[in-house]
């Protein structure tokens, strides 16, 4: 006992400091008061005459019975001359402290993308609690309306949109996703260019016959049915100096994806036949000896995936392409790559980071050729498609 008492002060010290360390290394003890906190799932930004309108899609608690699973949300608008002011406005109007740490998606409306988008994205970049890994997207029309729309596939539109931006969708070449970090690096780099998926919402045919009761906005089953939407992000918005300067078609988006070497198990169709990409290697190369030259090269291995006519079982089991087919498919992909390059040159958008490559080659080469218009750049475009053997 005496011994114990003798060492007690030391143990007390240890206990005390263990508690202090615990305090130090814990945050707010996990006590997030959901009644006072707005967990922002996604943010939509539009410009108006006074500045910006930020639509925050906020997760709200939902019933726990089996019929109402999933995430429910409510959309609240904040207005202000800056995005930060919009966030403060949200707080002032709702009493909810907006937490951006769970915000995985920022959608820019048409009006926001008309001018330099970093007017608004800057707020997210400098916010230390906003993850730079959040996805960016541009949309047709208003971002607020897009987030407020009722998705046919999920109670919360942001979650439905994020499904479009999954890794699987990206590998399929259907969408070119980008994060705040990647877009910012492109914007602040020598090329001052970037891209993000372009989202369109379409009314789901027969949606009034479908599952009833939109939960978004916390509406009850008895409320009048709203039009359900499905979203598409197969187009890609391209930006130069932060301004939306063009939209790549789905074919150009697929070609862009191939160039980036992203595609695995993606499909595309040529003349009524579908092909599955099994291997994709893209190469964007700049050579700057006497004068700069640019080459875009795609090498992929494909197999038959579907045909618009009936084939014999022997043909089905092989899935191989004839030499003529390889050439025809190569020509089609080359055409898509060429169209991609044309879109970039027409918009003077250095999407493929020509100027960045020059800079990385050497400062002298960069200084000599950085002002060369993309349209004046000699480009070699080639796609080589090989059949699965």
């Amino acid at each position: 006992m005496k011994k114990f008492l003798k060492c007690f002060p030391v143990k007390l010290w240890i206990l005390l400091f263990a508690l202090l360390v615990l305090t130090f290394f814990s945050n707010d003890f996990g006590l997030v008061d959901i009644q006072k906190t707005a967990l922002v799932l996604a943010a939509g930004i539009d410009r108006d005459e006074d500045g910006f309108r930020l639509t925050a899609q906020i997760a709200v608690p939902k019933g726990t019975d089996r019929t109402t699973g999933g995430t429910s949300s409510v959309e609240i608008d904040g207005r202000g001359s800056t995005v930060s002011e919009c966030i403060s406005d949200l707080y002032a109007r709702t009493g909810w402290v907006p937490k951006l740490i769970y915000c995985d998606l920022v959608v820019l409306g048409e009006s926001a993308a008309e001018k330099d988008v970093f007017d608004c994205l800057d707020a997210f970049l400098r916010n230390e609690y906003m993850p730079d890994s959040c996805l960016l997207a541009a949309c047709a029309g208003s971002a607020g309306e897009l987030l407020s729309s009722t998705s046919a596939i999920d109670d919360t539109s942001a979650l439905a949109l994020e499904k479009l931006f999954s890794d699987a969708a990206e590998q399929a070449g259907q969408v070119m996703t980008t994060t705040l970090r990647e877009f910012a690096i492109g914007y602040f780099g020598e090329s001052r260019s970037g891209y993000m998926p372009y989202v369109r919402a379409q009314a789901q045919e027969g949606s009034d016959q479908g599952q009833g009761g939109s939960q978004s906005g916390g509406q009850s089953m008895a409320s009048p049915k709203t039009e359900e939407k499905i979203y598409s992000a197969r187009e890609t918005a391209i930006f130069s100096d932060g301004v939306l300067v063009g939209i790549l078609s789905p074919e150009e988006t697929f070609a862009f994806s191939l160039l980036k070497g992203n595609v695995y198990a993606g499909t595309f169709s040529v003349d009524g036949t579908s092909y599955l990409v099994l291997r994709d290697r893209g190469d964007i190369r700049v050579t700057a000896s006497a004068s700069p030259a640019f080459s875009l090269f795609v090498d992929c291995t494909v197999q038959h995936y579907g045909e618009s006519h009936t084939s014999a079982p022997e043909q089905l089991v092989k899935g191989t392409l004839s030499r003529q087919e390889e050439e025809a498919v190569s020509a089609r992909l080359t055409q898509s790559l060429q169209a991609l390059w044309t879109s970039c040159t027409q918009a003077e958008c250095d999407l493929l980071f020509f100027r960045r490559s020059l800079r990385r080659a050497s400062p002298a080469v960069y200084a000599a050729w950085k002002d060369l218009p993309l349209s004046a750049l000699p480009v070699t475009v080639q796609a080589r498609v090989r059949s699965l053997r």
């Binding site: 202090l20 910012a184 990385r360």
Partner: protein, 359 residues
């Protein structure tokens, strides 16, 4: 119990590099751009050489205070001790600010109250009151934590790094290189930290070489971290503080598994806490040795030093950029005085004993 040679090596290899992972990478990116590795490489080589010198001084088996007292007498040694302690406290200020930034950024999801960081000073006061000899066991625990934390963070972030962003070498020019060195002086004071510890650990044969190599080994890990950091963030690297907590956030499986990188980040943050306290502990130890006597002196000095730091951090709470800029820019020259000039002068005075072979 005195720290052993192994524990000193653990400190140099695994604990010392951790103190450079918060603000320094972004600061370097601002000054040297894509050439951020070169100033650090220069600093590492210089520090390694200085650490070699300091470890040679450790052969005397007496503290730096005792060395100065032997050469210049009591009064001069006490003045020296006060100056050294003042420097160590000054050196501790930036790591404390960094620790505060780390806590605010990674342990909270909205800006917490200023006082939330106050418990750190209680912890620091406790640790600083303890004898420096207890550090050996601490480093035994911290070294594997640091190694695992660093390896985890690097593993989860290297896949997102575009190492092409480091090209072209030399783009920042001599100006960028010099600025990079100047601005990072405040982080490369490991020789001064070690100097305040000599005499507290026994010198074993070959420790000078082993310690230097261990420091260079840790430095290589730091260089790799910086390369990954710039590869991940490129042009926006200047915005990324605390660097070690940002770099692994883009791990592709994070969307499925959550931020598992926090496990490694917490490990590094834990190690960092002890690294931040070390200069305060050394300042208290130096002063206690110089003005020793009462057994209550170390706790009182510890409380005083930590109160001073707390007051400084609180006062400068609203001017972080200016404070950091003043320390890294205007007052940068103070650091080499104690981390380079002082060890070299001491080595010149008390260097190799006659007929002694460096082992």
């Amino acid at each position: 119990m005195k720290p052993s040679s192994r524990q000193i090596c653990f400190f140099l290899a695994a604990v010392a590099p951790v103190g450079k992972l918060v603000l320094m990478p972004a600061q370097l990116a601002a000054d040297a751009g894509n050439d951020l590795l070169f100033p650090v490489l220069a600093q590492l080589v210089l520090q390694a050489a200085l650490i070699f010198c300091v470890l040679l001084l450790a052969r005397h088996d007496c503290t730096v205070f005792a060395l100065v007292r032997r050469a210049a007498g009591d009064v001069a040694a006490r003045i020296f001790a006060v100056l050294l302690a003042a420097f160590l406290l000054f050196f501790a200020f930036l790591p404390v600010v960094e620790q505060k930034i780390t806590v605010r950024s990674i342990f909270y999801d909205t800006i917490p109250a200023h006082l939330v960081f106050a418990p750190f000073f209680l912890f620091s006061a406790y640790l600083s009151a303890r004898a420096l000899g207890s550090l050996g066991r601490v480093w035994d625990i911290l070294a594997p934590l640091s190694a695992v934390g660093m390896a985890g963070v690097l593993l989860l972030s290297v896949g997102n790094a575009d190492f092409g962003a480091l090209a072209p070498f030399g783009a920042a020019g001599t100006g960028g290189f010099i600025d990079g060195i100047r601005r990072t002086c405040c982080w490369f004071c490991d020789s001064a930290l070690l100097l305040a510890m000599i005499g507290l650990f026994p010198y074993r044969k070959g420790l000078a070489w082993k310690g230097t190599l261990c420091y260079l080994g840790g430095g290589l890990a730091l260089l790799f971290f910086l390369a990954v950091f710039y590869g991940v963030f490129g042009e926006i690297a200047v915005l990324q503080t605390p660097a070690f907590a940002r770099v692994s956030a883009f791990f592709s499986a994070a969307t499925v598994l959550g931020r598992i990188d926090y496990l490694f980040i917490f490990a590094l943050a834990f190690v960092m806490t002890f690294y931040v306290v070390l200069p305060v502990q050394e300042a208290v130890g130096t002063l206690a040795e110089a003005f020793g006597g009462a057994s209550l002196l170390p706790p009182l000095l510890s409380v005083g030093c930590n109160a001073l730091l707390f007051a400084a951090v609180s006062l400068l709470n609203l001017s972080p950029s200016q404070t950091i800029s003043t320390i890294t820019g205007t007052l940068f020259w103070i650091f080499p005085l104690f981390s380079a000039v002082l060890p070299l002068v001491l080595l010149a005075l008390f260097g190799r004993r006659q007929r002694e072979k460096i082992s």
